[in-house]
Amino acid sequence: MNNLCCGPGYASPTDAINAPSEKLLYTIAIYTGTGIQKPDYLATVDVDPDSHTYSQVIHRLEMPGIGDELHHMGWNACSSCHDDNSMSRKYLILPGVRSNNLHIVDTATDPKAPKLYKVIEGAEIKSKVDLSGPHTVHCLGSEIIISFLGDAKGEAPGGYLHLDKDFNIIGRWENSMGDIKFGYDFWYQPRHNIMVSSEWAAPNTFMPGFDLEEVGHLKYGRELHFWDFEKRKPIESFYLGEDGLVPLEVKFHHNPDSTHGFCGAALSTNVIHWWKDNDEKWQWEKVIDIENEMHPEWPIPLPGVMSAILVSMDDKYLYLNNWLHGDMRQYDITDPHKPVLTGQVFLGGLLGKAPKVNGVEVAGGPQMFQLSLDGKRLYVTTSLFSTWDNQFYPEIREKGGVMIQIDCDPVNGGMKVNPNFMVNFGQEPNGPSRCHEARYPGGDCTSDIWL
């Protein structure tokens, strides 16, 4: 580490790629909706191949109450604070989608055994800023913004909560939601003063479960929104139509000068690419279209359901999942207009192509994933959201979720399952739980932004 004088993260994506390998990772694990009356928790997983507890959960931090449904999480600080030596990447913020509570966890005092530092109560958030259904956490300099998908009554479009570095509620971050109908994920690229946000649905729509008919009734999103980041208001929206049903995860290139970014449209199972053209206009196109697959027992073809995408730190590869088909894919996006499929592995899924991985029966399909900074190790989990799991993969109640690690070739492309790694959350002490998003203490490929 050559930056001991500095703040958190790395001076550039290149420095991040050259950082030491991760030895620990954190993933949330849920009991909400499983029938087990225990709190959701933050699991510490040993990912150091030289450790005698490699590929095991080595610590569990339970939340104070039941029913949170922990889901995504984010850091209090990232590389956007790299030149601020008063900041450190110390706290992980764990929102409860159902409870609305924000759990602030200290991961720095003892990285193996994180401690709960503070809880911002869901009721306080509802009463002060009229928001519920928290999702994506990003820091911006020394402050924090979190997308919420609903108002206090669970109706769309919600908005953005603004916290200061000490986790006090400042208020709503946005000055206007414009004509935006739904919220979900967002990412920003400060050098271009742009933020892009996507659309899932109102909490009252997605929390109870998924109904295809509700997509037809426009209860789910199909637009991408471009924001003036400094003015904190939307400036342009793209209607993606049938190509962009339920646009979920949005990722810019890590290179802070780039205007290229990608969104995974979950139900259409397409990747949408956007960029700013030579006339300074934002453009979009569909660059990946995963065909539906036939299933012997299904009356209609089975969509892939691309619930997540990720861009490697060198901006060379895009990873995506097909939660229902059961495959993880790697695309070379050196030319972002023309992605090339370079790797694919099956892990569970409804097509029956990989019911067992490393000897463990997989319930669910590849869902969330986190890539090591050097691009070589992809950690994949299998649960999407408790109610949706219960609809598509009811056997996950008994089997729980798993975390699998895929070895990725960042030079020539290619993916294969690491035979030595398997964390089976079906074997947890309190019964089968379901793991979801993962983060490394040193920063990861889905949080750091460069100013």
Partner: protein
């Protein structure tokens, strides 16, 4: 204030007295019944139970579609008792709460109240 009896058929028919002004979830938890819950405003389905006898008022719920309502589901975090009632609780009662939406699509009258059609009923 009116009191009603709640019988829980899948917990040995145990009976508890509840206040008709308060959510059944809160009343049962006060008696020490261990129940799942999430949002606590009727939006998320985590606390659903099956009503097999009696009447309740759950006008505040926004999570259930008509198919789930027809199968007797009740959102305990907002429902109030309107008579003595019998419930099945917990995930054991969820056999008809979840369906694969591609294998068993809903008819238009089975959708949520705000988008359901009336013609087919």
């Amino acid at each position: 204030m009116t009191k009603y009896k709640v019988k829980i058929s899948n917990r040995g028919n145990t009976e508890y007295e509840v206040d008709d002004k308060r959510p059944i979830l809160d009343e049962l938890r006060k008696h020490g019944v261990d129940l799942p819950y999430g949002c606590k405003y009727g939006g998320c389905i985590t606390c659903a139970a099956k009503l097999t006898a009696g009447n309740i008022d759950q006008r505040r719920q926004v999570a259930l579609n008509n198919w789930q309502l027809d199968n007797g589901y009740v959102i305990l975090c907002v429902a109030r008792a309107r008579s003595d009632i019998t419930l099945e609780i917990g995930t054991e009662s969820h056999d008809k709460l979840y369906r694969n939406p591609f294998l068993e699509p809903l008819k238009s009258y089975q959708l949520k109240a705000d988008i359901a059609s009336k013609e087919d009923t």
